[in-house]
């Protein structure tokens, strides 16, 4: 298990050279959409990286030219982006951000596939704006870890808001009649932060107080008061 903790604003360089993992990249892109200074810096650093690319130019084999041009002639181009009318979809403003390949939105899609209840959708939608607000707070930090079977987890932590957003990716399904539970662990021990049902559902935990880490355990359906299983994944918050 490997945990990384970084200040979102310093990820511009790693982002510009594509050195972030998928989950970090999507979280950072959500941050970028809200952070003017990062967006400017990324544009400059991407232009800088482009010079590195141009410095190693090398002609492609000549026969590829006709092939590419012929393929283009048979390929329909994407329609341009047009301003999206609000509330044309169930997702409201979340719909527009989906296009930005936002990590949280991706998680929402997973949730949407399993829940049809309108109230739940509305609740998720309001949670969604909390996520994007959280991602854009100045002290937001991104913490990620890898877990079993190639799964990854990312938490966005804001001390000023006393909130944490947790999203996991590629978590295997829990055993039958069991559920993943997220715990905030401070000096007094673990406190439940909620259930990950389904496993890819994003979760906002409030009342961070002095939590030093978050952990996931497998618990019987409905969750437990105190963790009964071993931690599958732990993320240090400090």
């Amino acid at each position: 298990m490997r945990t990384t903790s970084v200040d979102l604003h310093t990820l511009t360089g790693a982002y510009a050279v594509n050195a972030l993992s998928d989950t970090e990249r999507t979280a950072f892109e959500t941050h970028l959409a809200r952070c003017e200074s990062c967006a400017t810096e990324v544009a400059e650093l991407a232009a800088t990286a482009t010079r590195l690319g141009a410095a190693v130019d090398f002609p492609p084999p000549p026969h590829l030219r006709a092939r590419v041009l012929a393929a283009a002639a048979e390929t329909r181009q994407l329609s341009p982006h047009t301003p999206r009318l609000p509330r044309t979809r169930g997702w409201g403003r979340a719909g527009g951000l989906l296009a930005a390949a936002c990590l949280v939105a991706v998680a929402f899609v997973a949730v949407q596939g399993t829940q049809s209840d309108r109230d739940q959708l509305a609740q998720l939608s309001s949670q969604y704006s909390r996520f994007s607000d959280l991602l854009s707070t100045p002290d937001a930090r991104l913490v990620s870890a890898s877990g079993p079977n190639g799964s990854t987890a990312t938490a966005v932590v804001s001390v000023s808001r006393n909130e944490l957003l947790f999203v996991s990716k590629d978590m295997p399904a829990p055993p039958a009649d069991h559920v993943y539970q997220l715990w905030l662990i401070d000096a007094d021990g673990p406190h439940s932060a909620g259930l990950l049902a389904p496993p890819s559902a994003p979760l906002v935990a409030t009342g961070l107080s002095n939590a030093r880490k978050v952990a996931i355990t497998v618990e019987p359906q409905g969750g437990s008061q105190v963790p009964t299983g071993d931690a599958l994944m732990e993320i240090a918050l400090a």
């Binding site: 490997r2 360089g13 050279v17 400017t40 590195l52 190693v56 030219r65 393929a71 390929t75």
Partner: protein, 198 residues
């Protein structure tokens, strides 16, 4: 640059005064196949060179190159000149696709071996070797020499080898946080040296 002369009209004589990627991409976005042909001639060397640099393998490079060029055609409608140059847009897409390929499952089996063989100094040496006297290459080389070793290695291992920052950290034996700051500091130093404005 291959075949450049094939699509040059009299207006293009005297490159670099000929049409640039910035001139051509908006035309491509309107479905202009002739503009795409000219864009191909302007950018294909940079696109293929970068892919080849990252992937090494000729067959895979040709495959990804064709995918990238077709994606440029297909998604030109989404290019927003307000957010950067056409060149940067195309090369960012190119690098992303090359790195995607590196990280895909097919490539996974070769990675350990590749990482073990890797000499971190090599990317810079290869850039140096390939400098053929063109102004931009000389400038890149000169500006790279102003970076600290760790900044240069962090940037080049990520950009030319397609390594993630945890991979760069393990190759260089550095903490993760250090690598991510070196990448940013190194690129900022390059930006300032090259006078890039974004």
């Amino acid at each position: 640059m291959p075949n450049r002369e094939r699509s040059l009209s009299s207006a293009d004589v005297g490159h670099p005064a000929g049409p640039t990627a910035d001139d051509l991409l908006p035309l491509v976005a309107r479905g202009d196949e002739h503009a795409f042909e000219r864009l191909y001639d302007v950018v294909s060397g940079s696109v293929f060179g970068l892919i080849r640099r990252v992937l090494r393998d000729q067959a895979q490079s040709e495959e990804v190159f064709q995918e990238v060029m077709l994606e440029v055609w297909r998604t030109a409608t989404r290019f927003d000149p307000g957010r950067g140059s056409a060149n940067t847009w195309i090369m960012t897409l190119t690098h992303r696709r090359a790195v995607d390929r590196v990280r895909s499952a097919q490539a996974a089996s070769h990675r350990e071996e590749h990482a073990a063989r890797l000499d971190p100094a090599r990317p810079f040496d290869e850039v140096s070797e390939q400098v053929s006297g063109r102004f931009e290459q000389r400038q890149v080389r000169r500006c790279l020499s102003f970076l600290t070793d760790l900044q240069r290695e962090s940037v080049l291992l990520a950009y030319y080898q397609g390594y993630s920052y945890p991979e760069v950290a393990s190759l260089l034996g550095l903490p993760l946080g250090t690598v991510k700051t070196r990448m940013r500091d190194g690129l900022i130093r390059l930006r300032d040296c090259m006078g890039v404005t974004g």
